[in-house]
């Protein structure tokens, strides 16, 4: 092997490798620095490192690179997706700061960041893979550390229970996924996406079973109905920062990966997976909503809301077009800001008071006007009320599905937004209208948390109006050539 190969690898896999370097760096800092230094600076260093990785390596270029004989593919669009994930992760890290540095958690602080970076690395691999084995490695790297993260709170029993539930479900769904790709191998004799794309033109029973298994494996991560049942329990029990991470970053990465797998591997026979997705989307959006309206625990509530959001996200995949891809990435970007704003508020209040019930939020506006406003914006954006970003992301993703001819599907999705509006507004009503004699006392947000929230709110307000963001993504997805 000559050295030019290494330099190519370094050049093309820069974001992955730099992320690993950052992780190792964090590891050593955690190991050798003094506790006082760590208390003061460690979280900041982690954020800065991730921001640096983003700035150096996640700015989309203009060329497509392949490595390892096509197992690893890096296009401008994948880089943009990684950038989106990084932005979200930085926001999660900012919001996790006060929890991770609390007395109970700070012993394990290093692990939190390192595990999170590892999962991010796994997601990078999923997005950039051109081969099912790389994809599977990415999937597992992105899944297993999350089980540890979910079980991060050592005091409460809930956290362990959630961790165990996640692990069992993940392992089981991985098994189904592996089964699916082994069927694929049996049919085509290869695990390269492009080879399978050539072999998969015939609609045999084996092919359909394999496809269903693969969809099930990724659908688990996306929490599509009926693979979603773990979601609520895990979200409720896990630490709020991890739940936030699961609900936006992990879901976003899975959506991106799903998009690539379907586009690269199964684009010759879209009618099969589109048929399956059609049903799954309706189930996901509707059931997610139906469960969400019953929830009293805000984290559980957001779990179901995120299930139905996954359904909307899948509309972009359904479109099977460049417009759909743009709309999907844009949707996830907006979703990151909106959902993290909601989780940021919840995390802040949970940290200080331990309250997560919707009834506890009654009259929050009197004592915490700024947090209430942030939460209100988040809810409006999630529900898709103009002029906030969520309206535009929903509009674009519906438009992409309509352009591909799915009128009835979009109609059902639209009807569901009405239901979702109801439960999102319940939260707003609790904060602003419901009377409460002793509302939650005034909570002071830490500096990191406040920065995170301000960025989220700014994102909600600006992303929709600044059309250049969508235009930029649109330009990138046109280069993919779907």
């Amino acid at each position: 092997m000559d050295f030019s190969q290494y330099s190519l690898i370094w050049e093309y896999m820069q974001s992955e490798l730099l992320l690993l370097v950052a992780t190792v760096l964090l590891f050593f800092i955690d190991l050798f620095a003094s506790p006082r230094f760590l208390d003061k600076w460690f979280s900041g260093i982690a954020c800065v490192l991730l921001a640096a990785v983003t700035a150096v390596s996640c700015i989309p270029g203009s060329e497509t690179h392949t490595l390892f004989g096509g197992m690893f593919i890096n296009t401008p669009m994948t880089t943009a997706m990684k950038m989106v994930l990084n932005i979200g992760t930085i926001l999660v890290l900012l919001q996790a700061h006060s929890w991770v540095n609390s007395e109970a958690c700070k012993v394990r602080r290093g692990e939190f960041y390192e595990l999170m970076f590892f999962t991010l690395f796994g997601m990078y691999l999923m997005i950039s893979s051109g081969h099912f084995l790389i994809f599977f490695i990415g999937l597992e790297t992105a899944s297993l550390p999350i089980a540890a993260l979910v079980a991060f709170n050592k005091q409460g029993g809930d956290s362990y229970e959630s961790g165990a539930k996640y692990l069992f479900n993940a392992v089981f769904s991985s098994a189904i996924f592996l089964m699916g790709i082994s069927f694929m191998y049996a049919m085509s004799g290869s695990l390269y996406f492009e080879d399978i794309a050539l072999a998969a033109t015939a609609n045999t029973a084996l092919f359909i079973v394999a496809l269903a298994f693969i969809i099930s494996g990724i659908g688990f991560k996306l929490s599509l109905v009926p693979f979603h049942l773990w979601t609520a329990d895990v979200y409720q029990g896990g630490p709020t920062a991890v739940t936030a991470y699961l609900s936006v970053i992990s879901k976003g990465a899975a959506a991106f990966a799903f998009l690539w797998v379907l586009f690269k591997t199964f684009s010759p026979s879209p009618e099969v997976w589109q048929g399956i997705l059609y049903v799954l989307i309706i189930l996901t959006i509707t059931l997610g909503n139906l469960f969400a309206i019953r929830q009293k625990d805000l984290k559980r509530f957001l779990a179901f809301s995120s299930i139905s959001q996954a359904g909307y996200i899948m509309l972009g995949v359904m479109a099977n077009s460049a417009q759909g891809m743009t709309a999907l990435v844009y949707y996830i970007l907006v979703y990151i800001f909106s959902n993290l704003a909601a989780f940021g508020v919840i995390a802040t209040i949970e940290n200080k008071t331990g309250k997560v019930n919707m009834d506890d939020y009654n009259g929050l506006y009197q004592t915490n006007p700024k947090l209430s406003l942030a939460m209100m914006l988040a809810m409006f954006s999630l529900a898709g009320i103009p002029p906030f970003a969520g309206f535009f992301s929903k509009f674009f993703i519906f438009a992409s599905a309509v352009n591909s001819g799915y009128y009835i599907l979009v109609l059902i999705a639209l009807l569901n937004t009405i239901i979702s509006l109801f439960y999102y507004l319940l939260v707003v009503k609790a904060m602003f209208i419901n009377p409460n004699d002793n509302p939650i006392e005034t909570v002071k947000t830490g500096c990191y948390g406040r920065t995170g929230l301000v960025i989220c709110v700014a994102g909600i307000l600006i992303l929709g109006i600044a059309s250049c963001v969508y235009g930029y993504l649109s330009g990138l997805s046109l280069t993919v050539g779907i």
Binding site: A164, K165, F168, N169, F172, S173, I176, N203, A205, I208, V209, L211, A212, F213, I215, S216, F220, V225, P226, F227, L229, W230, A232, D233, E271, V272, G275, I276, V279, L280, L287, L290, F291, I293, R294, I419, F422, S467, G471
Partner: protein
Amino acid sequence: MEYTVFILLLPLAMFLLLGLLDSKLKPRVAGILGTLGMTVCAALAYFTAYQFFTQPRNAEGVIPSVTPYNYEWLRFTENLHIDLGIYLDPISVMMLVVITTVSLMVHIYSLGYMHGEKGFQRYYAFLSLFSMSMLGLVVATNIFQMYIFWELVGVSSYLLIGFYYTKPAAIAASKKAFIVTRFADLGFLIGILILSFFTKTFDFATLTATPTAIITETAGATFLGCSVASWALALIFMGGAGKSAMFPLHIWLPDAMEGPTPVSALIHAATMVVAGVYLVARLFPVYCVTPEVLELITTVGAITALYAAIVACVQTDIKRVLAFSTISQIAFMIVALGVANDTDLHEGLGYMASMFHLFTHAMFKALLFLGAGAIIHAVHSNEMSEMGGLRKYMPITHITFLIACLAIAGIPPFSGFFSKDEILTAVMNKSTFWGIWMTVVAGLTAFYMFRLYFRIFWWKNTDCSHHTPHEAPLTMTLPLIFLALVTCVAGFIPFGELVSVNGQPYHIHLDWSVATTSIIVAVCAISLAAWLYLKENKKPTAMADATRTLHTAAYRRFYIDEIYLFITHKIIFKGICAPIAWFDRHIIDGTMDMFANVTQWVSARIKGLQSGYIQSYVWILLMGTLLIAAITIICLL
């Protein structure tokens, strides 16, 4: 000329700064900040005008228009996209100067006038918002951008009319202004949509470059006997008529006088209300391909001019008189546009005259309003009966007000004479009937303005009120003096050289037959006013009694407001809205309640799925996967 973007950004920044900090700023600081921002803005606008008008003309002798900044905001299709940009041509540059000048004067004036008012900072924030919106409106590169800013000026106008939000009359007036103009804007929006549907563009430059294309595009498409192009342009004019308070959509403007007086000067005299005129001027080449719409515009304008002038003769609230005078003067501009044509410079005289009058009117009407503000400030009342003999107490206000009255009456050498003379010439060229009509209106203008002037400053000799009125502070008199100076010299600006229908320089020459007639008419009207109102006497009352019916009708504005109330309350509310409301409350809400109940019911039934047991989760996961595979196989194979 990229710096022109700061003319928009600066007031926006001021609005955000003052609006967000609000009471955290001291009132004084807020006022001075706002004024400074506007000063810079005005300086930039003057510099833009200087640079623009001194650039070399092209081969046809036209000053080329410039688009220094353009940002594509939304793209729907290849042709249809909404841009935000800055388009500079003679009329938009002229408007930049007018708006920033008047706005700056109002900013300075308000420092004195609004001193000590509650919400002083909010007031300045709104003023900045308005200035930004109005400037954005005039520099719009496309009709949709104009629409956006059009609505923004509507909002700022609403906010400023209702500035004294504890006063019920002010709230009612702000609502009325908003609803009436919004109703007109509905027509505007529909017009835009029809126009862009056929022309596939929003862009002004494209629209006005090949106006005949719209005829070929819409060829054959007719609606109720008129071509679609005419409908679109008439609907667009409806939006303009609403903003510019043309009959019968004028009803909001007199009520809008409930706002602070400087606001009336800025928004309801000099800038926002001429937006309709500006809109027609902006699309003028397009209007020229539909002569029937131009005729409609002429008729609407002429009726409005006469109507408002008659009503203005009998009002007793000085701001109402000025409001109706504004309506009448704007109608002059509209009529001038209606009789113009873009075939050559001579036919297009009306276009130039209209823009010229817009310019001079903005200055002297702002002066009149600011003067009225000073008077109201001194006597604490809007009613004429409370005034009289003020010339001794307020010399500066008196002189400046007199200059403005002479200008609007059309007495040389003040600015109004020149612009009004051009309008009358243009109208006379087109049709003698409208020419005589407008000359009569000009006479009425001179009469009611001097009625106002004599009632305020002469009439009584001794002052019988409790305290002696005194001259306004320097912050208020300075803008008056400045605007009076402008009014004295503005007539001598070679306006035709800068603005004309096809951009070529046009040398203004007075048509002496028209000029002499109008001067004689004006002098007669002024003499009549002097005879009636110079000294306190019984002649006006006697005259009113002699023409009781007409006088009352005019005083009640010919019952237009009552007709509106009858149509909305008695016919629309009772006859149409009530049944719809019933349908909405019972049928639609009932259906929605049913959906909600079904949703709740289903939701309660399926909660068992989420049992919390891993084994059942995994079971459902596996079964779900297999079921999906099975169903797909059955369906596809």
